[in-house]
Amino acid sequence: MSSRFFAQLGDSSDESSSSDSEVEAPVSRAPARQYSSILEESDEEKRVVRSSKDKRFSEINETIKAIRNHKKIKDITKVQEGFTTLCQIYAKSQNVIAKNGCPRAFIRCIADLETYIKEFWEDKEGRSKLNKINSKALAALRQNVRKYNKDFITEIEEYQKNPENYEEVIEEDEDEDEKSEDEAIGFAPSATKVAKKTRTTSSRGGDDDDDFDDDSDDMWGDDSSDESSSDDEVPAIGYTAAYFLKRKDDDKKDKPDRKKKAPRPSTKVASKEDEGWTTVSGTDKVTKEKPLFEDDAEITVELVNQKIAELSSVRGRRGAKRQKNIETLEMLSGICVSENLGIPILAKCMYYTCLAIFDYNPNMAVCMKVEIWVQLLATLDKLLTLLEQHREVHFNEGMPEEEENLEDPERTLTVSGSILVIMERTDDEFTKLLRNLDPHGTEYVERLSDEAKLCSLILRVKAELGHRRASHEEMCRTYLREIEHLYYKVDYKADEDSGPDSSKAKMDQLCKYIYRYDSTDRIRTRAMLCHIYHHALHNRWSEGRDLMLMSHLQQSISHADIPTKILHNRTMVQLGLCAFRKGLIQHAHTTLNEIQSSQKSKELLAQGLSTQRMSERNLEQEKIEKQRQIPFHMHINLELLEYSYLTCAMLLEVPHMAAHQFDQRKKLSRTFHYQLRNAEKSPLIGPPDSMREHLVAAAKAMMKADWKTCADTLLAHKIWGLMPRAEEVKEMLKQKIKEESLRTYMFTYSACYDSISPHVLSRMFDLSNAQINALISKMILNDELKASWDKPTELLMLHRAESSKLQSLAKQTADKLTYVMDNTEKMLQQGTPFTSKGSAPSGLPWNSTWTNNMYMNKGGAQGYSGNQSYSGQSYQGRQNYSNQGDRSGGYQKRNYNSAGGAGYNRKTGGNYNNSGYNNYNRKQNYSQSAY
C-alpha cells in the first residue's frame, strides 16, 4: 500500500517538474472519486467535478462529523441541531440515495447516536450535570432519534451485528479508488495538477473527522483555497520533486496508522464510467500553444461535457478566472463544431458560455462591460439560431445533469438548463446596463438600439418555447417579458391602426393569455398594470380605468413587492396624465394627488433620488434604491407630471377658494397652496420663468377671473411640447380655464350684481351662450350660486343670500350647542364612577350634570330666540316663531322643575336646528305673536 502511495507521489512530482503548466485539467474519473493522494500541504484548489450525489454525500458527511464532535463535548443542543439538519439533508437527497443506496456513514451515525443517547440517558449522574437546555434537548433528541430510526431498523441491525463490516467496505472502496486513480494518472502524465486537484483526503487523513472537514472545505468555496488557486501559475515550478519527495517519508510513516473511512456510496456505476474516460490537459494560457485538449486525445461528447462541468463547478468562486472561462467555453463550442460532436453538446457549450458571461461580474449590482454584453447577445443569438434549426433538442430546467442525453438519438435529446432563464437574465442585465449609463450620452442611445435585438430574442425564445410545448408558467414569464418591453412605448399609429398588428391588439393578446393561464399572482398583476399603462398611454382612459377598478389592484397593491409597486405608481401616474389629456380634471387631480403630495415622486416612480434635506437614508438604502431605478428611456417626465398636476389643482382650487373665501380650512391640494404661499414670500415678482412661476402667475390671473392672461401664461411654458397631442391638450386647457374663470368670477363678484346678462358673460369669457347657460345652471343646481334665470328678459337674477355676521354667529352657536350636548351625553353615558372608598369625591354628581343641562337649554333657547327675533326683521315667520317660542319656553320650565335629561336637550337642539336657521330663506309674514 505504501509503495503505491510512493509511486503516486513520485508520479505527481514528475509531472510537476516535466510540465510547468498551470492549466486546469479535468480528471477523467467518476466525480465521486476524490480519493487520490496529494501532499498535505498542497493548498491547491481541488477542481474535481462533483455530481449532485457527491454534493449530497459530502453534506451528509459534514453533518455527521459535526454531530460526532458535539457528542464528544456533550453539547446536546448542537447534536440535536445536527441531527435535524442531517435528517433534512437525507430527505433532500432522497433521489440520489434511491439510486446509490443509503450511505453507510449515515446509518452508522444514526445508530451510534441512538446508543450514545441511550447510554447518556441511563447515566443519571451525568445527565443531572447537564444544564437545563441541554437536558431538554436530550429528551427531545431521544424521542426524535427513536422515531426516526424506526425507518432504518434493518440497516441498523445489520450494522450492529457486524460494525466492522462497515469499516471494511470502506476500506475496499478505498482500494478500488486508488486503483482507478492510478489509471487516471496514467492517462494524464503531463497534467501537473492532476495530483493536486484530485487530492484525496481520506486515504491520507488520519482522523476521518478531519478528512471530512478538509474535504468539505475544499469542495465548497473555502476562500483560502480559492485564493491560492489563482496564484498557482507561478509556484507550480516551485513544487518540484524535491519538495514532494521531502514529504514522502512523512506520508509513508503516517499512512499505515491512518484509518480510511469515508462515506462511500456504491461506486460501481462510477467506476465503470471511469474506464472510458480520458484526461485532458488545458491550453497553456501563457504560451497559447497548448490546445484545449490533448493532441492525441479523442474528443468525445463526454469529454467536452466533462470540461464544461468542470468549468461550471468553479462558478461563483472568487479566484475563478472568469474571462478565461468564457474564452475556454467559446473555444469548446468551436471544437464541438469542428469535431462535429452534435447539436446538444454545442447547445450546452453555448448555454454555459452565457452563464459564464453572467458570472463575469461577481457583484450583482455592477453592470456588465459593454463588450461582454455584445458577446452575450451574440452568443444568445447563436444559441437560439441553433435551437431554431434543431427543434429536436430540448432544454429541461429541472432535470439533474446526470440524466442529460447529449448523444443518444434514440431518446429525446435533452440539455439541462433553461433558455428562459438565460433570456430573463439577459433582459435584467440589459436594464442594469442602461441604468448605469449616462442617459444623455451617445452610448446610451447605442445600447438602446440593442433593445430591438433583445426584443427579437425574446420573441424567438417565445417561439421556441411554443414549439417545445413549454408549460403555461414558462410561457407566462416569456409573455411578461415581451409585455414589459412593449407597454411603455407609444404607438404613434394607435389611432389609425386598430388591426391585429397594432400594439393594442398585441398587448391584449399577451395580457389575456397571462390572465388566463397565470397561476402566480405577480405576473398577472404586472401584466395588468402594464396593460393599464398601455391603455393610458394611448388615451384609452375608460378602458384603463375600468381595468384598474375591476382588478381591485389598488386594494391589494400594498402587499406586492417593491418593483411591482413602482410599476403601479407609474401606471397610476400615466392614468392620471391620460385623464388630464382627456380633460377629466377632477379624475386627474385625485389620481395624481397621491404621488405628488408626498414630495417623493422621484422615489415613488424610481426615477432618481431626490435630494433630501435631512440625510434620511443611509448609503445602504441609497444603494438599494439605485438598484430599483428604471432606465431613462422609460421615465415619465416629472416636470410635465408636476405641471399637469398643478394645473389640475389650479383649475379646481381657484374656484374653490373663491367660493369659500371665509372658510379656508378645506383645501383640495396642499401642494398648490404651498406654491402660492411660496410665491408670496418672494420680494420681487418678475415675469414668470420657471414652471412653478408660470403656474402661480396663471393662478393669480385666474383669481381675478382674467382667463386670457391665465391661459397665455400657463400655456406659454414650453413643457407642453412634451405632452403628446400638445395642441389638443392646449385647446382643452384653454376651454377649461375659461370655464373655471367664469366660475371664479361668479363666486367672487356675484355679490356686486343684481342681475347680469349671459351675453355679457359670453363676451367676457369667450364662451357661447349655451355654455354659459350650462355652467351657471349647474352652479345654481349645486347650490353654489344663489340665482335664477329670468327667461323673458334673458337675465340672471342674483339673490342676496349670504348670511350676515349675526346669522353666522347663530350658526356657530348652534354648532357649539350640539357639541356641548354631545359632550354632556358622553358624560352621562360614562356614569358616575365612585372610588373604592365609597365616597365620590372625584365623581361627577348628577347635580352638576343637571346644571350643565340647564344652562345648555337656556343657552339654546335664548340663542334661538335671539336669532329668531333677528330673523323676524327680515324673513322669519310668525308661525314658526310662536310655536318655537312657546315650546321652548315650556321645555325650559319643565327643565327647571324636573331633573332634566339629555333627551330633552336633544329635542331642543333638534328644534333649534330645524327651525332656527333652516327658515332663513323662507319668507313668511309676521303679524301676531306671543309677544
Binding site: F834, P845, Y931
Partner: protein, 328 residues
C-alpha cells in the same frame, strides 16, 4: 355661629333703596372713565344704612375708587377709603360701608374677582351688596342697575373651599342660578326731585321709542355667548377626561384587589400567612376633582347673556309686530 347669623341676616334684606344722587354719581364716574378711554370697569364704595325693621338697605352715598390691581394701588385705595370715611363722618353723612358698585360690559362682570370682592364685603358686613351698573344699556335708554349678593349656600361653600367640588354643589343644591341672589332695587327720590322729573318728562319727546335695537349690540352679545359656550365645552371635556381617568383607575384598583385576594387565597392554601392588606389609596392616588366654580361662573354669565339678548330682542320684536300691524 357667624355663618348662621349671616344666613339669617342675608335673608332679612328684601329691597335696596338707592337715592338718585348715588345713581348720578355712579353714572358720572363710569361715563367719565369711558370717555377717557380708560378701563370700562369702574368701581366704588357704597355707603348707607340698614333699616332692619323694613328689611331695607338704604344706599345714600357713594364714592369712587381707583381701578388698580397693583398692591400700591390697593394701598392708595385703602388710605383713600379711610380718609373719606373720616371726612364723611365729620359732615355727618352715613359712613357705613354697605357694599360696592361696579360697572359691567355686557354682563361680563361675573368672574372670579367679582366673586372674591363680594365675598370679602360680605365677610366684613353681613348685608353688603354689589351694585352692577351697565353703562351700555343705559346709553341705549334703559338705566340698568342691579343689586346682587352671594347666596347663603354659596357663601358657606366659598368659605370652606374656594374651588367648589361637584359634591359640595350637590349637597347644598347650589346651581348657577342661586349662586348670586338679586335683590330688587328701588330708586328713592326726594319729593322735590320727583317734581323736577315730572317736568322733565313732559318736555322730552318720545320719538326714540321706535328705534330698533342695533344689531351690533346683539352680535357682541352673541360673541360673548359663544365664548361662554366654549368655556363650558372645555369644562365638559375636562370632566369627561377626569371621568375616564377615574374609571380607568377604578378598574385598575379592582384588578389589584382581585389579584391580591387571589394571591392571599393561594398563600392560605399553601399554609402561609396572608400578606398584609395594603392601603389602596397609597398605591393609587386620587385625581384632583375638577373644580366647578369656573363652570358655575361661566354658566352664570351665559344665563345673563341669554337674558340680555332676550330683553334686547323682545323690545325690538314688539316694535316690529306693531309696525307690521300698522302697515297692514
Amino acid at each position: 355661629m357667624a355663618t348662621s347669623s349671616n344666613a339669617q341676616l342675608i335673608s332679612t334684606i328684601q329691597q335696596v333703596e338707592i337715592t338718585s344722587q348715588v345713581i348720578m354719581k355712579i353714572t358720572r364716574h363710569c361715563h367719565h372713565e369711558l370717555e377717557k378711554q380708560l378701563d370700562p370697569h369702574v368701581n366704588g364704595v357704597l355707603l348707607g344704612l340698614i333699616n332692619e325693621n323694613k328689611h331695607v338697605l338704604e344706599v345714600t352715598h357713594c364714592f369712587p375708587l381707583m381701578n388698580s390691581d397693583t398692591d400700591e394701588g390697593m394701598e392708595i385705595n385703602r388710605e383713600y377709603m379711610l380718609e373719606m370715611e373720616r371726612s364723611l363722618r365729620q359732615v355727618n353723612i352715613d359712613y357705613q360701608q354697605v357694599g360696592f358698585y361696579q360697572s359691567t360690559y355686557l354682563n361680563t362682570h361675573c368672574d372670579r374677582n367679582f366673586l372674591d370682592s363680594v365675598f370679602d364685603y360680605l365677610e366684613e358686613m353681613n348685608e353688603a351688596i354689589a351694585l352692577i351698573y351697565d353703562p351700555l344699556k343705559t346709553k341705549l335708554g334703559n338705566l340698568s342697575i342691579r343689586a346682587f349678593k352671594l347666596s347663603a349656600p354659596a357663601f358657606k361653600l366659598y368659605k370652606e373651599d374656594k374651588e367648589f367640588t361637584a359634591e359640595m354643589l350637590r349637597e347644598n343644591s347650589l346651581t348657577y342660578e342661586n349662586l348670586f341672589v338679586e335683590i330688587p332695587v328701588v330708586i328713592k327720590n326726594s319729593s322735590l326731585t320727583n317734581v323736577l322729573l315730572c317736568e322733565l318728562d313732559s318736555v322730552q319727546d318720545n320719538t326714540s321709542f321706535f328705534t330698533l335695537p342695533t344689531s351690533s349690540y346683539l352680535e357682541k352679545s352673541m360673541q360673548l355667548l359663544l365664548g361662554g359656550l366654549d368655556e363650558i365645552n372645555q369644562d365638559l371635556q375636562k370632566i369627561n377626561n377626569h371621568q375616564r381617568n377615574v374609571y380607568k383607575q377604578q378598574t385598575a384598583i379592582m384588578k389589584y384587589i382581585q389579584d391580591q385576594k387571589e394571591k392571599n387565597d393561594a398563600r392560605v392554601k399553601d399554609g402561609l400567612k396572608p400578606l398584609p392588606e395594603e392601603d389602596v389609596s397609597k398605591i393609587f392616588k386620587d385625581f384632583a376633582p375638577v373644580g366647578r366654580l369656573e363652570s358655575l361662573l361661566s354658566s352664570n354669565r351665559i344665563a345673563s347673556h341669554c337674558d340680555m339678548i332676550e330683553d334686547h330682542v323682545r323690545s325690538g320684536i314688539g316694535k316690529l309686530y306693531l309696525a307690521d300691524s300698522f302697515m297692514s
